[in-house]
Each structure stands twice: as C-alpha cells, then as structure tokens.
C-alpha cells in the first residue's frame, strides 16, 4: 500500500512539474505583476502625509472628547481602519514591485550567496513580516495600536540598514 502511495506521489510530482513548467514558460512577461501606477512609494511625500493622517488618532479623539460625538468618532475609526488596511496593502503591492525589479547589469559571475545578497533578502523578509503583522494588528485592533516590534536589537539588521544608508548618503553627496 505504501509503495503504491509513493508511486502515486512520484507520478503526481512529475505531472505537477510538467504543468508548472508549461505555465511558467508560456506566460506572457510581467503578466503576474499588478498595475502599480498609483501604488504608494516611500519617496512620495503625498502618500506619507496620507499615512500620517490615517494612523493619527487625534481626529477621533477630538471628535469623541472635545466635541462629544462618540458615534461619529467610532464611524471615523472604522473608516480609518478601512483606509489603513488599503494603504498597507497598496504599500505591499508597491514593495512587491520593487522586489520583482530585475537587475539590468547582470554579471557572469553568480552573486548569490554573497553577504550583500543575504542582507537584501533580510530587508525583504523583514518588510514582508512587518507589513503582514501590521495588517493583522490593524484588522484586529484598529489603526491606533503600536504593537509591531522594531527588530533594531538585531545587530545584523542594524548593520545592513546602516550600510545601505551610508551608501545612500555617499551617493547623494557625490551627485551634489
């Protein structure tokens, strides 16, 4: 019986690989990539202002405490929660677009396994974890909770971020 199960696994595996291979090869380039023309970007000041507004509890507090409109404040919080989820999802889509960006200048020598590649992967996974955790928190508790860990205590993450920041500063100085 076990032999039959494993034989079935072998056949199913081969068929699955064939189907996936066919689909991966026949797909039009960039078909899976979403249209991100309006997706947020950290470089876009308007989007950042919007996020400040969405995640800022002062409007709801003002309605509830100073104007004494608790129901209106609740409605505002519910609306802000919806906006916060939309904003975070859009940010994730925008990030995925960056993660899917191909490198133009490919060298012959493989770069995989280098320290730099691991650091970049760490940044990608860290963001993915943070944004998913943030979505979970916003969905569960609303947009006015601070429950996301910073990871700044991990030396590896701090080092990689510092390194990229230093490079960015050096680049901006040289372009000036």
């Amino acid at each position: 019986m076990t032999t039959l199960i494993y034989a079935a696994i072998a056949i199913a595996f081969l068929l699955l690989i064939l189907v996936l291979l066919q689909k991966t090869r026949s797909r039009e380039p960039d078909a899976s990539m979403p249209d991100n023309r309006s997706a947020p970007n950290p470089g876009n000041g308007h989007w950042l202002d919007l996020s400040e507004r969405i995640f800022n509890p002062s409007d709801a507090r003002w309605l509830k405490e100073e104007l004494s409109f608790p129901k209106l404040a609740e409605a505002l919080i519910a609306e802000r929660k919806r906006l916060a989820i939309q904003w975070l999802e859009a940010l994730q889509v925008s990030f995925d677009e960056v993660a899917r960006t191909p490198e133009l200048t490919l060298s012959d020598a493989p770069e995989a396994g280098s320290d730099r590649s691991w650091q970049t992967l760490w940044l990608t996974l860290r963001f993915k974890f943070l944004v998913n955790y943030a979505l979970f928190v916003v969905r569960l508790f609303g947009p006015y909770h601070r429950l996301v860990p910073s990871f700044s205590w991990i030396p590896f993450s701090r080092r990689s971020e510092d390194r990229f920041r230093r490079t960015a500063m050096a680049n901006s100085r040289s372009s000036d």
Binding site: A31, L91, V98, A99, S117, L121, F127, A134, F164
Partner: protein, 268 residues
C-alpha cells in the same frame, strides 16, 4: 548488488539485468563526460558552478566505482553504498544551483531560493528523514528509507521553488527549465524505485535498483545535456521595459527606505 545467475554460462535474468545495468551506467558515464565537455566549451561551467561541480563529482565518482569494480570486486558493494549515500547529500547542490538561478535577476530576492532550500532541507531533515533512520532496525530498511525520504524532500523543495518562481514572475530560461525538469524526472523515478526496493525482497529490490537507478540518471542527464547544450538567454532580461530595471544598489536603497518608513510609521 546485481548477483549473477548460479548456472555459470547460461544467461539468467539476474545476469541479463546485471549487464543491462552496466550498459546503462556506462551510458550515464559517457553522458556525464559529454555534459562537462559541452559546459566547458559553451562557458556554462562559469554560470552554473554548483551544478557542474556535482556533475564532475558524479563523473569522477563513477570512474572510481568502475576502478574499484575491476580491481577489487569484493570491496565494490560497500564502496557502492557509501558513494550512493554521499551522492544523495551531494544532490542538494543541484537544488541550490536551481534556486540561485531562478532568482538570479532579482537583486531583492536573489537568495530567497537558497534560503528556502536550506530551511526546508533542515526542517524536513529533522522531522522526516532523521526519525526514519533512527527508528529503523534493519540497515537495508534504513538505507532505502533515507534515500526515499531524501528524494521526497528534494521533490518538495522543487515544487516550492516552482511555486515561488511563479509568484514572483520569474521567467525560466531553457537552461534552468531543463535543469528543473531533468531533476524532477530523476527524483520521481527515485521515489518510485526506493519505495519498491523497500517493499520487495532484498534480491529483487537490489536488481531493480541496479537497473532503474542508472536509468533515472540517464534520463536526467539526457534532458540536462539537451537543455544545457548552449547558453540560452533568460527571457526576463530581454523583456524588461525601458526604465523598468535597476541596479542592485538602487533596489537595496529602495528596500531600506520601505523598511524605515514602515518602522517609523508603526512606532508612532
């Protein structure tokens, strides 16, 4: 392995299977040599270093096994099993190569495949492969179990890599697709023959393994030789829209910016 018939000159089934196994093994040896020569000629060795390291290991290993077989046949069975077990582990290099190649053009997730391969290998090694070895009372059972579960682990990794590659819209070139398909054929046959070898009597199991194991290698090498005959361009590189590609430095900076902005926002 591959016992000969007891009636001397008359060709028994075991004897013919033995010869068939030897012929297929020799074809595998020749195909391995051809693949290395083509790799050197088309400069693919530089682009697929781990894969060609494995092929060279396999080629040299087969050569060593032939030498042992001719010089000291009594030593051959134990040498075969050691080589077989080491090869099961070395085959993970092919998976690492595939995982590196799939995400090679994406600087943000260049090591994602390698990380997935390592994590899945370690996790399944601890919870799926190791208990089978430690729990087996017979050495033969343990060997087949180890080979079978290692093949299933590799198959799972391959499927996960395929799925993630599709998720990120990675276009597989002819070289990488062939590498994956060839390895999938090899793994599927190995899963089947190890399951059969485990279930049947030792002599029959050994005969099946003697013929089918090199047959799996031959089919796999045939696909690899055809797909790696010459360097095929990665489709994605040719379909990048003007302005869509960036260098790895710019991507890393963008990722850092995304991370800092999100962290800053969530700490308010």
């Amino acid at each position: 392995m591959g016992e000969r018939g007891s009636c001397g000159a008359c060709p028994s089934r075991a004897g013919s299977m033995h010869i068939l196994g030897m012929v297929i093994s020799f074809c595998v040896f020749l195909l391995g040599g051809l693949l290395i020569l083509r790799g050197a000629a088309s400069k693919l060795i530089r682009l697929f270093p781990l894969f060609y390291s494995y092929i060279i290991y396999d080629f040299c290993g087969s050569l060593g096994m032939y030498l042992i077989y001719w010089r000291d046949p009594h030593l051959y069975p134990s040498a075969y099993w050691i080589y077989y077990l080491v090869s099961i582990l070395v085959e993970f290099a092919v998976l690492v190569e595939i995982s590196d190649q799939i995400f090679r053009i994406f600087p943000a997730i260049r090591n994602l495949g390698r990380a997935l391969t390592i994590v899945i290998s370690v996790a399944l090694g601890l919870v799926y492969i190791l208990p089978a070895i430690l729990g087996s009372t017979h050495r033969r059972q343990a060997l087949f179990d180890f080979a079978l579960r290692a093949s299933v682990t590799k198959a799972i990794i391959l499927v996960v890599l395929f799925y993630v590659a599709r998720h990120y819209g990675s276009e597989l070139g002819r070289n990488v697709a062939g590498l994956m398909f060839g390895f999938a054929i090899y793994l599927a046959i190995n899963i089947a023959i190890n399951a059969i070898g485990k279930a049947f009597k030792p002599a029959l199991g050994a005969n099946i393994l003697w013929v089918m194991s090199p047959l799996a290698s031959m089919l796999c090498l045939l696909v690899w030789t055809l797909s790696l005959w010459k360097l095929a361009p990665i489709p994605s590189v040719h379909t990048i829209a003007p302005g869509a590609g960036r260098d790895s430095e710019a991507v890393a900076l963008e990722l850092t910016r995304f991370n800092s902005e999100l962290t800053k926002l969530l700490h308010k």
